[in-house]
């Protein structure tokens, strides 16, 4: 966290000049008592103050990464001062409702946040022994999520999207509608933007305003025109504040991080500038560990009431889910919500792909005592049937839908209904979990009951063909 400029004079030594400047990197020679990851201030001859962070330190030189970029710096016109601490963010409850830049400086014209409580933005790893296992179902009001890929409090569930897909709208709808079943307490929302465009940030701010949640939102904006290395700190600022709200103040926090692909690109930029050995697609070999240091800051702990639920958003370059950014993210997060271009083209919103989407924690947050007894089996059966739909469609493409057997035709009808009626819903439509589950059964009732291998007889008896539309379709579909 940068200090106000007047403090510069009362700190230790200043080092004049730089021996090497290369992209965002800035090398100072013959430095004493500087630690790894320490923060420095670099003042140029215009008196402009920039912030640097130590990437490598030896008894000969210090390599700094300059967050505001090195434009205008020369080998001679700078003075560098080391602040003796790593990056810190002052935290206090009255930061709620404020807007900050990517480095935690006010953007809303308000005062600098004042607090004696200044936190290291790198955080500390949560002891797995002290974690509380996430179990409370969050109702997002979206059937594709609640019914099939349920989100639980303390989970990290990213949205994998592509350019031009409505991930922002889906995320905004989740923020608007997310709530617990039996608890009126609302989420505090932390929004961190890394390299996104102004209009995207505006879209979210407007959405927060319209739904009247702005007083519960904190924004950290490092927009597309901000220096790219700044983005490496933005999510850490956001998560540091989230930890304060959740684990000191007992709030339930929902953190949106967008767009993680931009974050990873900044990481690659720094890695390349340092001449590191690149891993896949030029991303540094430590991309996994670095991403984990962000995503693993979600969760709950035994000793505090609050929770951090993370919804990172990332765009998959050329919709490629095996690209290193979505791939490594998927290995760390507890599932993924994948948006599908094909569904978008067919006008289905939210275009949440049925099969590749997954919530790993769903098994522990739904079913008896959480949502409804039939929920796990219903979801499993819907997945299995929808997988068959995909196979039948492949076959229909070859032989023509008319040539399909009677059962396969039922599957096609089921697939169409599943996409048009179950997945598809309005942007303002907030379905409660019972509606979603009943709708799921209505879809299954389009298929003969012998096809439902994954549901116990008792549940079939209770729910199969119980809705009027479903019953009609089921009897019509028997032969």
């Amino acid at each position: 966290m940068p200090e106000p400029t007047h403090k510069i004079q009362d700190r230790g030594l200043q080092y004049a000049g730089a021996s090497r400047i290369d992209g965002p990197l800035f090398v100072v020679e013959r430095v004493r008592d500087v630690g790894y990851d320490e923060v420095a201030e670099i003042v140029d001859d215009q008196g402009r103050v920039r912030t640097g962070r130590v990437l490598d330190v030896s008894d000969r030189h210090v390599v700094l990464q300059v967050l505001e970029g090195t434009t205008g710096l020369s080998n001679r016109n700078t003075r560098t001062r080391f602040l003796g601490e790593s990056f810190r963010l002052p935290v206090s409850l009255n930061m709620l409702g404020r807007v900050f830049d990517g480095l935690g400086r006010p953007l809303d014209g308000g005062p600098e946040p004042l607090s004696a409580d200044r936190r290291d933005i790198n955080g500390l790893p949560i002891n797995p022994f002290s974690r509380r296992y996430p179990r409370e179902f969050i109702q997002t009001g979206l059937s594709a999520i609640d019914g099939m890929n349920a989100l639980v409090r303390g989970q990290k569930l990213p949205i994998f999207s592509g350019n031009g897909l409505p991930h922002d709208r889906v995320a905004a709808q989740i923020v608007r509608q997310a709530r617990l079943l039996d608890n009126k307490e609302e989420f505090s929302i932390i929004f961190a933007a890394m390299g996104v465009k102004h209009d995207v940030a505006q879209f979210f701010i407007r959405n927060f305003e319209d739904s009247g949640v702005l007083s519960r939102v904190v924004l950290f904006l490092s927009l597309a025109d901000a220096p790219s290395v700044e983005r490496l700190l933005t999510p850490r600022m956001a998560l540091t504040y989230a930890e304060h709200l959740a684990f000191d103040c007992g709030r339930h926090v929902l953190v949106l991080l967008t767009d993680m692909t931009n974050y990873c690109e900044s990481l690659r930029e720094i890695g390349t500038a340092r001449g590191e050995i690149p891993g896949r697609k030029g991303y540094p070999g430590y991309l996994y560990s670095d991403l984990a240091s962000l995503y693993e800051r979600a969760g709950r702990i035994e000793s505090a009431a609050g929770s951090i639920t993370q919804v990172p958003i990332l765009t998959m370059p050329s919709d490629d889910i095996s690209h290193p950014v979505p791939d490594l993210t998927g290995y760390i997060t507890e599932g993924q919500i994948v948006l599908d271009r094909d569904l978008t083209h067919r006008g289905i919103y939210p275009p949440i792909a049925g099969l590749p989407s997954l919530s790993r924690l769903m098994k522990d947050g739904v079913g008896k005592g959480y949502t409804r007894d039939d929920h796990p089996a219903l979801a499993s059966q819907l997945f299995a049937c929808y997988a068959r739909v995909k196979r039948v469609r492949g076959l229909a493409d070859v032989v023509g839908a008319e040539e399909l057997g009677a059962l396969d035709k039922l599957y096609l009808a089921f697939g169409e209904a599943f996409e048009r009626r179950f997945l598809n819903q309005g942007e303002q439509e907030n379905r409660d979990i019972a509606t979603t589950l009943d709708l799921g059964w209505e879809m299954l009732s389009l298929l003969p009951r012998d096809e439902l291998h994954r549901v116990r007889e008792a549940l079939i008896e209770e729910h199969y063909g119980k809705t009027v539309a479903g019953a009609a379709a089921a009897s019509g579909g028997k032969d």
């Binding site: 004493r32 008592d33 500087v34 630690g35 790894y36 990851d37 320490e38 330190v57 030896s58 008894d59 790198n122 955080g123 500390l124 790893p125 949560i126 002891n127 797995p128 022994f129 002290s130 974690r131 509380r132 296992y133 996430p134 050995i277 891993g279 896949r280 070999g285 430590y286 996994y288 560990s289 984990a292 240091s293 693993e296 969760g299 702990i301 035994e302 000793s303 095996s322 690209h323 290193p324 791939d327 290995y331 760390i332 599932g335 099969l355 590749p356 997954l358 790993r360 098994k363 522990d364 499993s380 299995a384 997988a387 076959l395 070859v398 032989v399 040539e403 012998d450 291998h453 007889e457």
Partner: protein, 592 residues
């Protein structure tokens, strides 16, 4: 942070993340543990060059500065071995996480120092030998009831042999209390219940034995189609979301090993928490005791320091070897070896080593081999039979098995359980693909199985053949649809589907289905293969497949796995008889 001039002895000269360089390290040895800086951050010497040492530090190095002092410990990185390991959860360098939580709360701070074992606790030691006995390394001199299911055998450390001068009487002792004195050629040596062993050195055994017994996992596709032997090695590769961790958890819960060592290496914190919360609550079907009574957890999650992740694998396997030496069958689960390989890569890059494939160090295959070779079925130093089975999860980027970690792992394992994204997408769990997986132990364990089920090998071969033929037929079906196939071929499709739904898929959350005894496994397989055999002859005598599919008992076959639990195998038998009755009635219709 002092200036270099004020400190004598070894000092830090460079800090780059977890890699630290120091000078004045002439006295240091390779892989010696050192403590860096005022906070005493633990690290290990990985390179020596004329008094300049490169140290990999197991903790976050933020604000560590050149000039900070370095202290040598004189010891290689070692683990403490003795009663109290079972039921514990450690980080990668054997610091107990409950102890850290008691000391510093929910977060792991730097420089935490908590002893791995409770030195003040008294254990009830029962001697097994009397003074005068000749002992060598590995000789069991007494026992301690570590948990209700684990009898901990106190052994003479591997490097000591001689004559027992004295043994303490049965009673309560701490780990550091002497329990025996051995007269060795080099003088008298005091034996305690505590041993120390360097993690990178395999503990000695007297002989390696052939693998003859399966590690029964209770998971049908594994036990019946791709079995692993006690002392065997297996890899579970799979893209994200294919269920590696759930499969590993299932194996750790239900495998019939005496001791389970579960290494969470660079994976999610919540998964370790899940194990911690779940295992004490689940009862082992064999002993009736909580699973935690036989389990040791190593958790170095993805956000914990990367150098400790590298070590966590060795820490885990060394604990396993210690119990193996007591004559136990130990199963080690490493989730995930890819994260471990990435830790190697990250450290190698910081050491500016020349990279080989995809940035991994050229030593990757050697390191993998060293790890998997610590598995095996052995005769211990004291002549008992012990085994370590290793199951390593692999997380190939993009789910592509041609990447270096998967490729090299395949060279050193004999059991390959390939997880498939498409199966996982259809929620077919475990998503082990029957055509891409293999097991080199099927022959070795066939004899054991056939003692329980004489037809095991034929059932297995037939099931595999049906699945293989189905795959070929599906190629045709994709082009022209299933309707053009003759009934005998559509029967293959039908039976293959039944095998998938009624046998290969197994619900980890269904009371009846999560664990399947060998008896029930063969009963279920016999049921389906039996239908296939009879249906084939029926079709040959002119009965249409549709009539067979419409038999009332057929849907029950698929549900049998969740309807009849391990204590209701006779239900499967009844179903088999009912099916046979219906098939014979059908046969009567088509008798020529």
């Amino acid at each position: 942070m002092k200036s270099p001039a004020t400190v004598s002895g070894p000092v830090v000269t460079r800090v780059s993340g977890p890699i630290v360089q120091a000078r004045g390290m002439e006295a240091a040895r390779m892989y010696e543990v050192v403590h860096v800086g005022e906070g005493g951050l633990a690290g290990e010497v990985v390179k020596l060059d004329a008094g300049r040492a490169t140290i990999q530090v197991y903790e976050d190095t933020t604000l560590l500065a050149p000039g900070a002092p370095v202290q040598l410990s004189g010891m290689p990185l070692s683990v403490l071995l003795g009663p109290g390991l079972i039921g514990n959860i450690y980080d990668g360098i054997q610091r107990p996480l409950p102890g850290i939580a008691a000391q510093s709360g929910a977060w792991i701070r730097r420089g935490e120092k908590v002893p791995a074992l409770d030195m003040s606790r008294r254990w009830s030691f029962v001697p097994k030998l009397a003074a005068g006995a000749e002992v060598t390394g590995g000789t069991i001199i007494g026992t301690v009831a570590e948990t209700p299911v684990v009898e901990h055998r106190i052994m003479i450390p591997p490097d000591i042999s001689g004559r027992l001068l004295s043994v303490v009487p049965a009673g309560e002792y701490t780990l550091e209390d002497p329990v025996a004195v051995v007269e060795t050629p080099a003088g008298e040596r005091t034996i305690t219940m505590l041993q120390r062993w360097p993690v990178r050195v395999p503990r000695p055994v007297s002989e390696r034995l052939r693998i003859t017994e399966p590690l029964v996992t209770g998971q049908r596709i594994i036990d019946a189609l791709f079995p692993i032997g006690k002392g065997g090695t297996a890899a579970i590769p799979g893209g994200f979301g294919t269920g590696k961790t759930i499969t590993q958890h299932q194996l750790a819960k239900w495998s019939d090993a005496d001791i389970i060592v579960y290494i969470g290496c660079g994976e999610r914190g919540n998964e370790m928490t899940e194990v911690l919360r779940e295992f004490p609550a689940i009862l082992d079907p064999r002993s009736g005791r909580p699973l935690m009574d036989r389990t040791i957890l190593i958790a170095n999650t993805s956000n914990m320091p990367v150098a400790a992740r590298e070590v966590s694998i060795y820490t885990g396997i060394t604990l396993a070897e210690y119990y193996r030496d007591q004559g136990r069958s130990v199963a080690v689960f490493a989730d995930s070896t890819s994260r471990w390989a990435e830790a190697l890569r990250e450290l190698a890059a910081r050491l500016e080593e020349m990279p080989a494939e995809e940035g991994f160090p050229a030593t990757l295959p050697t390191r993998l081999a060293q790890f998997y070779e610590r598995a095996g079925s052995v005769a211990t130093l004291s002549g008992e039979r012990g085994a370590i089975s290793i199951v390593g999860a692999v997380s190939p980027p993009g789910g592509d098995f041609s990447e270096p970690v998967t490729q090299h792992t395949q060279r050193f394992i004999r059991c390959f359980w390939a997880l498939d994204t498409e199966l996982a997408n259809a929620r077919h769990y475990p998503s082990i693909h029957w055509l891409r997986s293999y097991s080199g132990y099927a022959e070795d364990v066939a004899e054991w199985w056939e003692r329980h089920a004489p037809d095991w090998s034929t059932l297995r071969a037939e099931a595999l053949e049906i699945l293989q033929r189905e795959d070929r037929l599906q190629q045709i079906v994709k082009l022209v649809g299933p309707d053009v196939l003759p009934d005998s071929q559509r029967l293959i499709l039908f039976i293959a589907d039944m095998l998938k739904d009624g046998f290969l898929t197994q619900n980890a959350f269904d009371e009846n289905d999560m664990f399947c005894t060998p008896v029930r496994q063969t009963a279920l397989l016999r049921l389906i293969i039996g239908l296939y055999r009879r249906a084939l002859t029926l079709i040959q005598s002119g009965a249409p497949l549709l009539r067979i599919q419409q038999l009332p008992a057929v849907p029950d076959l698929v549900r049998a796995k969740s309807v009849y639990g391990n204590d209701a195998v006779e239900g499967i038998e009844r179903l088999k008889q009912e099916l046979a009755r219906q098939l014979e009635a059908l046969a009567a219709e088509f008798k020529k």
